[in-house]
């Protein structure tokens, strides 16, 4: 595992990179609370397909989102090797199911390339930029855009 280490200069930020099938994504480390192994979730009735259910996180009820399904890819088939990224989004905490956490990146804004024009709405919605690191392509996603504030949407 190689680290694209840069000096922590002004404007640099740390990201957590993770894998879903053969693609790599990353999110800001500041929104990640913890990373834990997969445990069987209790399914919720009438929930969208990407909501896998809820688990008990030290006494709190934590919804688990299949990020693969949410990003429009095929539904995940969780195994013991899958991990849950517990992330804070505004006032709520959710668990994101991903295949594996691959890297912690420290980057500056110059590393981020703009997202190319694509037709898909979904990609335009969540993608905030693309990183090229060690010949890999890592897509930076914005969690808040994936799960918009329900209250404001309804009102």
């Amino acid at each position: 595992m190689s680290y694209a280490v840069k000096n922590l200069v002004q404007g640099s930020k740390e990201l957590i990179a993770f894998r879903i099938s053969d693609q790599e994504f990353c999110v800001n480390i500041m929104s990640v609370r913890e990373i834990r192994g997969w445990t069987q979730a209790t399914p919720l009735p009438h929930a969208p397909a990407y909501v896998m259910g809820v688990i008990n996180l030290r006494g709190a009820v934590l919804p688990i989102i299949d990020l693969s399904a949410r990003l429009g890819m095929k539904d995940a088939e969780p195994t013991a090797r899958h991990v849950i990224i517990v992330a804070q989004m505004k006032t709520k905490v959710v668990g994101l199911l991903v295949e594996a956490v691959s890297d912690i990146l420290t980057i500056t804004d110059e590393n981020i390339q703009p997202v190319p024009e694509v037709s898909s709405d979904l990609e335009r919605l969540y993608a905030r930029g693309i990183l090229a690191i060690d010949k890999r392509m890592i897509c930076m996603i914005e969690l808040d855009a994936l799960f918009p504030d329900k209250e404001s949407e309804v009102a």
Binding site: H46, G59, V61, K92
Partner: protein, 759 residues
């Protein structure tokens, strides 16, 4: 304890007094003419005034004083408490509440409003009642009293009363030295006859007299004529009266101020004596006595008691009375450090007297209770986990561990119940707040509306109480503004011009049911429908039942008022009300009859922390069904199942037919209906009335579960009330029986589904 803490106590007491005041006034409004009610109202205002005086809250004092004066007229039957008078009084109570909160939190009060009320009150006191001037005389504000210290130290029940012996005029050695030099001034004659209430409130005649003596040179006559024989005597009664001549430079008001806190428990007369009348000409022989000895109260009591050789019983009675009094004063001790302790002490005495009847209470910080409740919640989960793992590892099931666990379970249970009881509070305070809102809003829109409340003593968890206030306020505003018609319209429709809003609380199947009914025009379905079409909430050709139309008002962005008024229609609609009720795990529904009014029914859980549930399996999932909803469970037989129409099935139970609801189907756990014969039917009674048989696959057992919110991190799930964590550490969902029943009845869960889909 510093001044701020004392002040905080005062404000807390103000809240209680204000509640007392308002409920008293409302009782009067309902035609209660019990003098005790009037007295309670008067005392409440008086206590606030007294305390406010001690803290120099002048605005509060002056308003309370005017209010008190008017109330005094009612108390002395000089002013008839007609509805009009009470209307002014209720408004004054509101202003008083505003002044109290303004004093506490800073901020202003509507000056013009309080000024106009002061005028109205004064008009009531003076205009209709010229003779009331005498009652104005006891000057406002404890600050006017030079040294109103007596009540604070009123530890001594009047010995002469309790011992019941023929009192002997006595003097003490120190008398001569203490005599003040003769002062220039006028001579007043004061006649002072305490009633028994004076003593029962912990006041002490001797201490009042001592304070009076500080005003100037005085001589006292004690009239003992009323004293009965020892065997006929009531040890708690008051038999003495005093005639006092006092020579002082102070005014009559100052003399009255000494009796400020006892004035309604005694007959007091103060008049300017002719200079010519000398002490010797009084019918009784004046026996001066030095009251300073009473400063050492307990010693004084022992001394006087033994001196008189009273019987043992009476000593005991006196001592126990002294104990009670000193308990009262212990509560008041806080106040002693203050410059003018008397005021608050009087308030404390009143509060303590009231508390004596209602059992003792303590004030506890809510955070502490919450922490305890959280801990108990974790304890319950832990206990469940422990029993489960013991059961799993112990095949025989007879070990001592099992016995111990059972006891532990019982104890946990009791702890939990007790902790929950701490938090249970009557809904009364919230209901009282509503009556104020009704008054104010009705005033603003020029309607005349009566709020009738029922079941105010229904108890529910504090968090529930706190959270229903806001939606309830909103609904009350709506009911007053939109629900009830204007008096003219009402008269035209042949109704009483005065509208009625009825607010009811009751317990029903482990939940609290709050109903808000108005006798207004009801929902204008045509307009609601039109509005919904205009706002793209429904399609123009949608075919809706009356019920469905009524329920449209809970949709977002809906306001039927033609014009946006100041009171409601601020863009916050019933959808917000519905959402906040749902967030509490409650439901709201409306039923309306055109021309007869609408009724909103809210059903809320009694507590937000735990519930008793039946753990069941449905399509491989573990669910918890609230035990309170279940009437009975049964194993259906094939012969009892009857198909009804295309895909409805009924089950016959003792010759009545009840629709079968497949929980797995409603919750979308399975695509086809399960075979009822393989499962278990839970007969439930739903809020909408009527029974349903819920089909589940198997019953696992009964358990108390700790409620965990799903909304905290997710969103409301239709058919699911909340979640919980079971003994194996996994999350189980708690079934919302009423929602499942409603869904089976064909009412769509769609609106919520679209909400959930965004999550």
């Amino acid at each position: 304890m510093d001044m701020n803490e004392i002040k905080e106590i005062f404000f807390q007491e103000c809240e209680e007094q204000l509640a007392e005041l308002e409920s008293g006034l409302l009782k009067l409004n309902d035609g209660d003419r019990d003098p005790e009610t009037v007295n309670a109202v008067f005392r409440a205002v008086h206590s606030i005034k007294g305390g406010a005086g001690a803290f120099g809250l002048d605005d509060l004092v002056s308003f309370a004083h005017v209010f008190e004066t008017t109330l005094d007229c009612v108390r002395s039957n000089k002013l008839e408490p007609t509805p009009d008078v009470l209307k002014v009084m209720l408004k004054s109570a509101d202003v008083l509440a505003d002044l109290v909160s303004a004093s506490r939190d800073g901020g202003g009060v509507d000056e013009s409003r309080s000024r106009s009320l002061v005028k109205e009150l004064e008009a009531l006191a003076h205009g209709e009642l010229p003779s009331s001037s005498g009652h104005d005389a006891p000057k406002p504000a404890a600050k006017a009293a030079p040294a109103p210290a007596p009540a604070a130290k009123a530890e001594l029940p009047k010995p002469s009363d309790d011992s019941g012996f023929q009192p002997i005029p006595f003097s003490f050695d120190g008398f001569g030295e203490d005599e003040e030099p003769a002062i220039e001034g006028s001579l007043y004659e004061v006649s002072f006859k305490p009633r028994r209430e004076l003593y029962s409130k912990g006041n002490e005649a001797a201490l009042l007299l001592r304070d009076l003596s500080r005003l100037g040179e005085m001589s006292i006559n004690c009239d003992t004529d009323a004293l009965p024989a020892l065997d006929k005597m009531d040890p708690e009664a008051s038999y003495f009266s005093w005639k006092i001549s006092i020579k002082t430079t102070k005014s009559e008001d100052d003399i009255r101020a000494v009796f400020e806190f006892a004035e309604w428990d005694c007959d007091l007369e103060v008049k300017l004596a002719e200079e010519a009348v000398s002490n010797e000409e009084l019918p009784m022989v004046p026996v001066p006595f030095d009251l300073s000895i009473l400063d050492d109260v307990s010693a004084g009591e022992e001394e006087t008691a033994s001196e008189r050789g009273v019987s043992e019983e009476t000593v005991a009675a006196a001592l126990s009375a002294a104990e009670t009094a000193s308990n009262v004063s212990r509560a008041a001790r806080v106040a002693e450090k203050k410059e003018s302790a008397a005021a608050t002490a009087a308030a404390q005495n009143n509060a303590a007297a009231a508390a004596a009847g209602a059992g003792q209470t303590i004030r506890v910080d809510l955070d502490r209770v919450d922490r305890l409740i959280n801990l108990v919640g974790e304890l319950v989960i832990n206990q469940a986990m422990l029993s489960q793992s013991v059961v799993e590892n112990d095949a025989t099931g007879t070990s001592a561990v099992n016995m111990g666990l059972e006891e532990l379970q019982q104890l946990t249970r009791e702890i939990q119940d007790s902790v929950m009881a701490i938090r249970a509070q009557p809904v009364k305070p919230v209901f009282q707040r509503m009556s104020r809102i009704v008054r104010e809003v009705a005033d603003m829109v020029g309607k005349s509306i009566r709020l009738v409340t029922e079941g105010e003593n229904t108890e529910v968890d504090k968090t529930v109480i706190d959270k229903i206030a806001e939606p309830l306020t909103h609904m009350i505003r709506n009911a007053v503004d939109h629900g009830i018609e204007s008096p003219e319209k009402r008269e035209a429709a042949g109704k009483d011009p005065e509208g009625t809003i009825k607010l009811t609380a009751k317990h029903r199947s482990g939940r609290i049911l709050i109903e808000l009914a108005d006798d207004g025009a009801g929902i204008n379905r045509e307009r609601v429908r039109q509005k919904a079409i205009d706002n793209d909430i429904i399609a123009a050709d949608a075919n809706l039942s009356d019920d469905e139309i009524d329920n449209l008002i809970f949709m977002a962005g809906f306001s039927t008022a033609d014009k946006i008024s100041d009171i409601s229609g601020r863009g916050v609609g019933m959808d917000v009300v519905k959402r906040s009720i749902q967030a509490l795990g409650g439901r709201i529904s409306i039923s309306s009859r055109p021309g007869y009014g609408s009724t909103f029914t809210m059903s809320l859980p009694l507590t937000l922390a735990v519930l008793d549930g039946m753990v069941v399996t449905v399509a491989g999932q573990t669910l918890v069904v609230p035990l309170t909803a279940i009437v009975e469970t049964l194993q259906p037989e094939a012969s009892a199942i009857h198909s009804f129409g295309a895909n409805q099935r009924l089950i016959s139970i003792r010759n009545s037919f009840c629709p079968l609801v497949d929980v797995g189907r409603v919750l979308n756990y399975r695509a086809t209906q399960a075979n009822p014969v393989e499962g278990v039917a839970l007969l439930v009674e739903s809020e909408g009335g009527g029974q349903r048989a819920l089909m589940v696959d198997a019953i696992q057992g009964q358990r108390q579960v700790v409620i965990k919110s799903l909304e905290a991190n997710y969103t409301h799930v239709p058919g699911i009330a909340a979640a919980t964590i079971l003994g194996d550490g996994r999350v189980a969902l708690i079934l919302d029986v009423d929602a499942v029943v409603a869904a089976s009845r064909g009412q769509s869960m769609k609106p919520e589904m679209s909400l959930a889909a965004t999550g």
